[in-house]
């Protein structure tokens, strides 16, 4: 391959157009809707000037060009309801406090992000247009690692890559637990969304211990043991004294979290990854029923991924290699392609951890159960070198990868994640799979999913892939996720988390009493509603 041609530039769409000076690219500040609805241009400009005085001119982004990286998102936004007005990036807690003071005065809404890579859920874009992104990426200190207790205290801008490099450089005997997009995302952002990884420490909020929060009025609060003077147990004991409040700062807009503590997994002496291959879509029920007792008893201790074939294929292959029609890919096309690459229709990845003796004792029990479910139980002996097996082996031992980002290319860069919770019961997961396929099929989308299996439930992660550059497709993806949320909701199945475009819709499903409680907390803590209005449906 040589340098890029003019055709390449054209192929790159908006970027190419901008480079060729066509001026065709829409600016995020085109039209008044992108400014906060209640602020006129003059007031906005005055607020921006004050913000510049706090953080320095380089760290306020309030023109179309510099706002572009904040506007990038793969989720559908057919009505342009998630366009930020700009961004401000503080470098310290004091600067955060000074920014909130200004925001209160101007009633300037601020959408807080840590690393802003909430991919599939809106990236850094706000729940409503006109919010200014409060970008905490510059606050990137690893404040404390306790080598004896295996605990970490970090700022919002620290990525899993930073932590990984740090543990390596200092030869510390701990593993990280990473989401599949570890290198470019943060433990703080991920944990506050109650995200997951794939080692025994995979439920991130479960492993969280202590936080520091700036409230809307500037008050600095430390949760748990952290507010005791000279405390040495902030990262050792979660619950503190009196009401436990950490939860209200997750998936919420009640404060700006400036420090987060969490636990690190001691590196086990031995680790053995497994893959169980099942050949039919309908096997989902058998897999879930076989897995449940092992996850409940913790004999299988990690967050297990049960990966659908289409999702796995999309990581490393492009849709055109299998299928060139707009309709959903037929099941047998997926099955055949998967088989050629050593994959089944469902590929379930778990691992055993401990010592060789412990693993040798557990392996036969697990093997028998999964073989009885009709699966082939595979290890490095059979699968070493297989791209997918190696990928999941890395995830289950806390290694960094971005390989799953390949799925974003399936249909031109658009992707939105629908993430309903299912109980760990075969029949219900089977029903969820059926319902999802029926709805996706009518829109011509593919059933591209991963089930993440916790102790007693599964996150059914349904990735709706579409062409973001085609407005008709974008509208279709938006309609599709709304129908999925609504129809799953009618069955009693609701999302564990959702994208900026459907936050209110999901909040409705959790009921009026729940919404009213959140509204009262919000009113008490942030009466001017400056912090991330609309987050999780909280105004």
């Amino acid at each position: 391959m040589t340098g890029l041609t003019r055709r390449d530039l054209i192929r790159t769409g908006a970027v190419g157009a901008a480079l060729m000076g066509s001026g065709a690219m829409a600016s995020p500040l085109d039209g008044p809707r992108q400014l906060p609805a209640h602020l006129d241009k003059g007031a906005f400009a005055a607020a921006v000037a004050e913000l510049r005085a706090v953080v320095g001119a380089d760290w306020v982004f309030a023109d179309p060009e510099s706002t572009l990286p904040y506007a990038k998102s793969s989720t559908p936004d057919p009505r342009h309801e998630h366009v930020p007005s700009g961004a401000v990036a503080p470098g310290s807690v004091e600067e955060v406090q000074a920014i909130l003071k200004i925001a209160n005065r101007y009633k300037l809404p601020l959408w807080t992000v840590s690393t802003g890579k909430n991919m599939g859920y809106g990236c850094a874009t706000p729940a409503s247009s006109g919010q200014m992104v409060l970008d905490l990426k510059r606050m990137n200190r690893i404040i404390h690692i306790d080598a004896e207790l295996g605990t970490a205290l970090v700022e919002p801008g620290v990525t899993y890559q930073d932590l990984h490099d740090y543990l390596e450089a200092n030869n510390l005997p701990y593993w990280l637990d990473v989401p599949t997009v570890g290198p470019i995302v943060s433990p703080v952002g991920n944990t506050l969304e109650r995200g997951v990884g794939y080692t025994p420490y995979g439920d991130h909020f479960f492993m969280q211990c202590g936080m520091e929060v700036v409230l809307a009025d500037g008050t600095l609060v430390r949760t748990g043991m952290g507010s005791v003077p000279n405390s040495t147990t902030w990262q050792a004991f979660k619950w503190g004294y009196g009401p436990y409040v950490d939860g209200i700062f997750t998936q919420s807009n009640f404060g700006v979290v400036t420090k987060l503590g969490f636990w690190l997994m001691p590196r086990p002496p031995a680790f053995k990854p497994f893959m169980v291959r099942h050949g039919e879509m309908a096997d989902v029920a058998k897999i879930v029923d076989a897995m449940r007792p092992f996850r409940m008893s913790n004999l299988i201790p990690n967050v297990v991924l049960m990966m659908g074939a289409a999702y796995q294929i999309a990581m490393f292959h492009r849709r055109e290699e299998l299928w060139d029609k707009p309709e959903s890919i037929p099941e047998d096309v997926v099955r055949d392609f998967a088989r050629k690459h050593g994959l089944g229709m469902w590929n379930t990845y778990f691992a055993l951890y401990g010592t060789d003796e412990i693993i040798a004792a557990i392996e036969p029990i697990v093997r028998r159960a999964f073989e009885a479910s009709g699966g082939e139980v595979l290890t490095e002996k059979e699968m070493a070198g297989n791209l997918w097996f190696e990928h999941h082996k890395n995830l289950m031992s806390g290694q960094l990868t971005l390989e799953e980002k390949g799925i974003m290319r399936w249909r031109g860069g658009g992707m939105v994640c629908f993430a309903p919770v299912a109980p760990a019961k075969g029949v219900e997961t089977q029903q969820q799979t059926q319902l999802a396929r029926e709805i996706l099929g009518r829109y011509g989308f593919d059933y591209s999913v991963a089930y993440a299996i916790g102790g007693r439930e599964l996150h059914h992660l349904i990735f709706i892939q579409y062409d973001k550059e085609d407005p008709a497709e974008e509208k279709k993806a938006d309609d599709c996720i709304r129908e999925m949320i609504t129809r799953f909701g009618a069955r009693g199945w609701a999302s564990y988390r959702t994208g900026v475009n459907t936050m209110d819709l999901v909040a409705q499903q959790y009921g009026e009493a729940n919404r009213a409680l959140n509204a009262r907390l919000k009113q008490a803590l942030d009466p001017n509603h400056i912090l991330s209005p609309g987050k999780q449906g909280i105004a």
């Binding site: 340098g3 320095g56 760290w59 990038k72 890579k117 510059r138 690692i145 801008g157 490393f316 390989e403």
Partner: protein, 110 residues
């Protein structure tokens, strides 16, 4: 262990301070030096590019303005990277490095 913040920034190869830190920026911690292009490539771009996930971009003499535009805007399936993640100075150096970089036969296309 308590880590000196300055040392730590180096150890963790963290980020992105511009030349003008704000008036109230942490006075005691000087901005870390920009990361070398090869480091930015290895710790960000190289996880996708050349790993079956995104096209090979080394050895193609990609124009510098093309790289900076794509990194800041994010092209289709690629996320955008902000100046708080990759500073303007780092991105400029990365684009120049990428334009001159030779292909690595160990990388895979797409």
């Amino acid at each position: 262990m308590r880590w000196n913040a300055g040392r730590l920034r180096l150890a963790a190869a963290t980020l992105a301070f511009g030349l003008t830190a704000g008036p109230q920026a942490n006075a005691e911690t000087p901005p870390p030096p920009p990361r070398a292009p090869a480091v930015v490539y290895a710790k960000t771009c190289g996880y996708c590019h050349g790993q079956h996930v995104a096209p090979v971009i080394r050895g193609r003499a990609i124009p510098t303005e093309m790289t900076t535009a794509i990194v800041r805007r994010g092209q289709r399936a690629m996320p955008a990277f902000r100046p708080t993640e990759i500073s303007n100075a780092e991105l400029g150096a990365l684009a120049a490095w990428l334009k001159a970089a030779k292909a690595d036969p160990k990388e895979h296309d797409q």
